[in-house]
Every structure is written in C-alpha cells, then in structure tokens.
Amino acid sequence: MITGTGIVKTFKQRGNVLAGREVRALRGVDFAIPKGGAASFIGESGCGKTTLGRIIAGLESYDEGEVVIDGTAMSGLKPKQRQPHFRKIQMIHQDPYSALNPTRTVHQTLFAPLSLRAKQTGRSKGWIEERAAEVLSLVGLDPGSVLARYPHQLSGGMRQRVVIARALTVDPEMLVADEAVSMIDVSLRLGILALLKDLRERLGVSVLFITHDVATARYIGDDGELYVIYRGQVVERGAVDTVIADPVHPYTQSLLSAIPVLHGLERPGEQPVVPLSSLDATGDDTGCLFASRCPFRGERCDERPLLQVSEGFPQEHACFYPERRSVIARPLSEV
C-alpha cells in the first residue's frame, strides 16, 4: 500500500537571480494505491501529474506532506534508508529510446540489477540467467532472440517491453507508467497496455498510469481509480468507469469532450464542454483554479473548493456546482 497525504511541491524557476518565480506544481495532493491496485493520473501537460509520479517513484523530492510506503513514512528517513523502499516502485519512462543504454545489450541491462539481487539473497549465477530469461518471457519476448541484442536492434514496442522486464528484475510492488505508450506505434500500443494489465493480474503488481489520453486509462482495470489533476490539485477522483461515463467537474468534462470522435462509428456527446481559454499556469491563485476557464462559473467560485463527496455523486470532486453532463462520444451501435 502506497499512500500520500498533502503532497506539496514548488519549483523555483532559475535563470533569473533577481526575480525567482515560483511555480506551484502540487498543492496538497492525497492519494492511496492499495497493493495490487491501480490508479491513473490524467490532466493536461504541466498539471503536475508527472511530478507526482516522480515523487512516488522517489525520483523527486517534495516540500510538504508525507509519502508512506507499506507503513513506513519516507520523510523521516535518510536518502540511503529510503532507497530500498522506493526500489519497490519502478518507473516506466515515456521514451523507450532514452530509457535503455545504447551501448549495452539486453543481457547486460538485465544482468546488473539481477546480480545485485543475487548478491543480496545469496543466489547463484545460474539463477541470474534463469531469472533474466524469465522476466523476458513475462513481458512477451523470446529470451533466445533478444538477450544478445542492442537497443537499436529492437523496435519501439520491444524496447518498452525490455524496460518493463528490467523493472521486474527487482520484484517491484508498483510500476509507474508515465505516458508509457505515447511514443509507440498505434498498432502496438494496446499490446503494452494489455501487458501492464496482465502483470497486474498475474504478479499482483500495482500499476500507476500517468497519461493525457483518458481512454488508455481504462486499461489498468475497472477496479482502478482515476485522479483528474488540474494545476497541481486533484479536481475529481473516483472509479475509472464512473468518472469517464459520468464526470461532474467541468474540467474533467472538457478533457473528455476534447477526445476525437470517430465519426462513422460514434456520435459525439450532446453537451460538450469547451474551456473558455487555454491553460495559463501563471494565472491567479485565489479561488477555484479552473474558474477563469470555466463556462459554468458561479458566485462561490471565488473560494477554493476542496475535494469532497456530495450527495448524488459516487465520486469525489472539487466543484461547488457539480453536474452530470453527457460529454463523451458513444458508439452508433449502442443507440
């Protein structure tokens, strides 16, 4: 179980000595991902979803709040003591091309973490080789044909599989997939998504999916939770299918309205929500963060709404005027 409470992260923009501008990347985010569970963070670029993912994977520090991994709070620990905890959480990067060292073969890539593992547990060299073949088979690659290859000899999809195999060498509890399929050919994306889902089911690894493409978030499984993040704040949170089918926050609704409609197969939703302006991360920080773009702005929006449950809606949301709207495209066959 990995939880976070009140995570705050502020980036100080460098480059200007006199006027260091501060960017609030995260403004008190709570999350909880149970063992073997799944969650996805969605939002526009710059909303803080990637920063949050990196904090969870131990690659980024945070200013306030607490990350708890299996009951151990991280903030009190020294970096050396934190390391073994964060090792249970492995990051799958967006770009499989830079995630593998071009000068090392697949064998070398897997051998290093495995031999470390073998040393810690007192296992033999044979175990390393066996395990290397095993993790490759787990991600759907043929060990015999890929072990001796360099990354440039593999396709994008195969590389991403090797990256996942490398993460599996340390028996992780959770995989953090940051836009893990956006650089992969369309016809192969689904294979990677299915693999992540499959690893969840077979190995009980939890999956955290970070994406701007809401539809891919469904692949983590229907028991997964969806976190919609806007300018460092979670604005809607609930079961994946609930939030997608019945979003109540205008921001979630605009995200879903923006998804292209496959005309000929689908018809668009009846009440699409279009934001009044484009994202301005430097905008004013008082009141509701989305208010300046929100077509449904009301009197109370000068205050900051908190994530809460209100009557009639199964999900949590941060809006004073929640309302269901039919925004997503539906298949023609459904009518």
Partner: protein, 301 residues
C-alpha cells in the same frame, strides 16, 4: 522457457568481446584511409618500441660523410657528425612517442576522472573542482614550460610527459563534465538509480561507455598536442640536448647545419618534420573511426 538455451555469462562476455573486435574490424575496413591510419600509428608504435634496438647506443659517425644530401646509402642524408638521419629519427622516436603516450594517458585519466566526478556529484564538489579547472585553464602553458625548463632538465620522457599531461587535462575535464551532465538526465541513468545500482556501476558501466568515443578522440588528439609541444620546446632550444629526439634534430638542422641556406642539410631538416606530419595524419585518420567503433549502432550496420 526452460527450452531456451542460455549461454553462461562468462562465455557470453567472451562472445561479446569477440563481437566487439569483429565490429572494429568492420568499421576499419569501411574506409581504406582508416586502415592506412592504423598502419601508420601501429608503425610508429613499433618504431618507438623496437626501433632503437637495431642501433647502437651511440650512433657511429662517418667523417667522410658530413652533412650529405639524401642518397641510396643514407635515405635522408647525414648530419654534421656524419650520422645517418633516418637512424636518428628512429632512435629519437622513443623519447617523443613515450612522452606523448604519458601525456595522453595523464590528460585523459585526470580529465575524465575529474569531469565525471564533478558532473555526477554536482553541488559543492562540482563548484570546487570546476574553479580549480578554470584556474588551471588560465595558466599559460608555454611560458610556464619555459620557466620550468630553467629548473628542470626533462632528461627523461616520463618527466616531460608528466608535466605536459598535468598542463593538459583542463579541457578534457570540462568537456567530460558537460557530457556527464547531459547524460545523467537520460532515462537509463535514472532507471539505474531507481534499481538501486551502485554509483560505481553507474559511472563505469553506464556513463563511461557512452563517452568512450569522446575520450578516445581526446586521447589521440592529445598525443599530437604533446608531440608538438615537446618538439617545439626542444626546437626553441630552451631545453638542453641531453637526449636524442626530433626536436633536438630540428634545432640542430636549422642552427648548426644551417638547413635554411645549405641544401645539403635539407634532408636533416625534413626527416623529423615528415615523421611528425605522418604521425599526425595517421592519428587524424584513426580518429575518424572512433565514433563508429564505440557506437554499437554504427558498428554493427
């Protein structure tokens, strides 16, 4: 799964090494100029190591053959003491090449180590090391060498190489640091950290190989730099003629044999110059292949 054959890691490493050399061979074969470069460089190395063994410690001079132009007997003529110029070039090469090798090794080892450490650790260490590097870079090399020459005789090529090496690592350190800074942001370095791999592993196995072409190029180029520097010093005559080498030859050719006005002594002047030119050419031709040798993609293509 059990059906797949997995080679033992020891033999796997052996295969890898064999593949590497096969790749190197392929890269070299791609352009005839590279092969020529290798032949030249290997030839010079051979000359430096074994050449002097074929000659007595003190080359015999023939009084009847003083400062002669090139002939069949003496390909580059003779010097004012009647010694064969080609023999002088060969016996003199050991000092020059040994010094250059020492310089190259010191430059690259010190430069790479400091650059890597600085770029990888960042923070306070980085600041301190880079200030030192900057200070070192501001020291003008030639005047310092001139001053040093008054107190130190540089009788052995090791001493000479040591001094040149200690003067030369600054640029490499800066460049390696810049490379390290950009590489450490790459996904695979971050992943290695996330997997809990040791810093030693990350630096030696992940970072260093990515920088290998760079380092190898710097090493080869610093060889030529060292050759120029020492030959220059000896030519200027700021160092005593305690040893035979190309710089001393040039100096004697110009100032003693009067090669500028004496056509007979032209061979004496040209022979060491040609040697330097040829060595530089060889190195430049080999450097051309470095990128392809250390980049698996270019190597295997």
């Amino acid at each position: 799964m059990s059906a797949t054959l997995i080679p033992e890691s020891a033999s796997a490493a052996g295969t890898m090494r064999r593949n590497f050399w096969r790749g190197v061979w392929r890269v070299m074969k791609r352009k005839p100029s590279r092969m020529a470069g290798v032949v030249i460089v290997v030839g010079f190395a051979f000359m430096g190591v074994f050449g002097p063994m074929f000659y007595p410690d003190h080359l015999p001079g023939d009084i009847n053959q003083i400062t002669k132009p090139p002939s069949w007997e003496h390909w580059f003529g003779t010097d004012p003491q009647g010694r064969d110029v080609l023999a002088l070039v060969i016996t003199g090469s050991r000092y020059v090449l040994l010094c250059a090798a020492v310089t190259a090794v010191i430059t690259v080892v010190a430069g790479t180590a400091i650059g890597l450490f600085s770029g990888f650790k960042r923070g306070r260490w980085d600041t301190v090391l880079m200030r030192i590097t900057d200070m070192k870079l501001t020291i003008p090399g030639l005047p310092l060498l001139l001053v040093l020459a008054t107190v130190w005789k540089f009788g052995s090529p090791m001493q000479m190489g040591l001094v040149l090496g200690l003067l030369g690592w600054g640029g490499v350190a800066r460049a390696v640091r810049a490379q390290t800074l950009s590489l450490r942001e790459r996904g695979f370095i971050e992943a290695a950290r996330g997997l809990g791999l040791s810093t030693t592993h990350i630096v030696s196995k992940e970072l260093l190989p990515s920088m290998a072409p760079y380092i190898a190029m710097n090493m080869l180029i610093s060889v030529t730099g060292a050759v120029y520097a020492q030959v220059g010093l000896f030519f200027l005559g700021v160092l005593p003629y305690e040893s035979d080498n190309w710089g001393v030859m040039l100096n004697l050719a110009v100032f003693q044999a009067g090669a500028m006005i004496q056509p007979n002594a032209l061979g004496y002047l040209l022979a060491p110059l040609l040697a330097i030119l040829l060595l530089t050419l060889g190195i430049v031709l080999v450097v051309d292949a470095m990128d392809e040798i250390f980049n698996p993609r270019l190597r295997e293509e």
